[in-house]
Amino acid sequence: MNLGSIESLAYLYPEGILLLSILAVFLVDLCVDDKERLGNIALVGAALALVFTSGLSFFDIRLIEGLQGAGEGWLFHRMIALDSFAIFFKVILSLSLVGVVWMSLGSREINGPNQGEYYGILLASGLGMFFMASATNLLLAYLSLEFVSLTSYVLTGYLTHNRRSGEAALKYLIYGGVASGTMIYGMSWIFGLTGSLDYTEINAALLQNAPDQLTLFIALVLMLAGFGYKIAAVPFHMWAPDVYHGAPIPVTAFLSVGSKAAGFALLMRFFYPALSQSGDAGMWQFVPGVEWPQLMLIVAMVTMTLGNLAALNQYNVKRLLAYSSIAHAGYILMGFVVLSDEGLRAMLFYIVVYYLMNLGAFIVVMVVANNTGREDLEGFRGLAWRGGALPAAAMAIFLFSLTGLPPLAGFIGKFYLFAAVVKGQFYWLAVVGILNSVVSLYYYARIVKTMFLDQPSDSEGEVTLDPHNGSLLAILSVATVILGVYWAPVFDFADRSTRFFLGS
């Protein structure tokens, strides 16, 4: 059983609200001269989407479970699934939309006559990510991924008269076009081998027919080009430093939190329900003959090592955070290779933690850039002693959390990842991960040292904090600290969300 197009709309109201707010932003943009208000419309839209998605998760969960009990978790003729996994990611994605829209309100780069387009396209990108998190068909997976990519290219090139922004957009476009082209070429081979685009049917066909292993392996590697490019995993990471460096800071933040989370959702949903089988005691077995966990193991190790080593000699903080986000894609992939519910749970939890600390770090970068016009490490010199004590303290919390020091949220996230890895007996992976965390301490601590221990030079002006950024920073830093001490509710939420709807 599956719901048709009309019946499905009843379960799609968060997306509907996003769609309406996109239209509202574009329409109001046409008839209002005061462009400052548009950001508020977008913020309300994103917040409503968040409220209704959380509502779907907490209040309608019985309704959804009832649907799934009747074998009706599919919407739109099996195009998307409504399960707790999708809802988890929708909550994360709407949180990142709210955070990024909120932070854009206080951004000097975004402010301008075109900001209506910016907010509309930002929400559209979020809408695409919602579909990425729930696609259960290769066609919809490709369409939603491309939707997110196309909107991201435009957002990256938003600063039309800025050379770096245009260059970043061009590089993103070229890498993205090649990666998604390679991905659909790989998908076409999967389609040829299994005769279907539907994840469940692909799974059944792979288990029954045992197709040619080499062809299947090549097809998977080609598909990984598209997925790996969205999460910025080696060897498809080359775009990340340039794009993060050139894009406006709120867009960089959105790419690093939203785009990456959506990419992981797509990756997990394809590799777990479609290419593996749920076995006993929360373990998964991959389809016989295709050793993708070995491949992903190497990808995870290389990704975190390369990201951390390249970050060591970066002096532009945005570029440094780009390499750090590549390294974090490697850490999250550690939970991916162990093929157990514990690994999945740890990944989901880490994605929440990563959202808090990375978004926070980018807000501090934006505060400094708003005041001094600088994004390099010199702009942070003595930040705590020239009026920026609160942003400096918050940045220290976020950076130590990114390193994984206790008692902050990053430590708990890494703890669960390493626990899953050790329990899966991937000891080498754990050793590489821990060594990498040690290396990363060097470049994170260097920023903290520059902010607190170095004397400010006389030429640098005062740093002031406007209420938008101040309140958001306070929320994120408090959440990072609290999640480091009391993480049970979020962890339970992640635990409940590892269940995929597989049909019946």
Binding site: L138, L139, Y142, L143, E146, L150, Y153, V154, G157, T160, H161, N162, R163, R164, G166, E167, A168, A169, L170, K171, L173, I174, G177, V178, G181, T182, I184, Y185, M187, S188, W189, F191, G192, G195, S196, L197, P241, D242, H245, G246, Q314, Y315, N316, R319
Partner: protein, 107 residues
């Protein structure tokens, strides 16, 4: 003559699409002109289209593959629009669309 045409099967289509795919990749890797690179991306997309239609016709027995190909064509058009807009912006800022001239981001 009839026999010659009837002999054309799935294998031949897959071979053509592989050639187109490799040519597309070669084009992307060697071209210096931004529009040339976008043309290479189009070749890659169309190689996938050939595969979808061939598989749909010869092996799957449904129209999923052909529908996929139509969506790919549509998205290729959307991507071309955005791509050309970005290239136009690059030309206004750098007075060139040679990707080797566009290198202000380094580190």
């Amino acid at each position: 003559m009839d026999g010659l045409l009837l002999d054309i099967g799935l294998r031949h289509f897959l071979f053509v699409s592989l050639i187109v795919f490799v040519l597309g990749l070669y084009c992307v890797l060697t071209r210096k002109n931004a529009i040339g690179i976008l043309l290479g991306v189009e070749l890659i997309l169309n190689s996938a289209n050939i595969n979808y239609i061939a598989f749909s016709h010869f092996s799957s027995g449904n129209y999923d593959g052909q529908v996929f190909a139509i969506f790919v064509i549509m998205l290729a058009a959307a991507e071309a629009v955005i791509g050309l807009a970005i290239v136009l912006g690059i030309y206004q800022n750098f007075s060139s669309i040679d990707i080797e001239a566009v290198d202000s981001l380094q580190g």
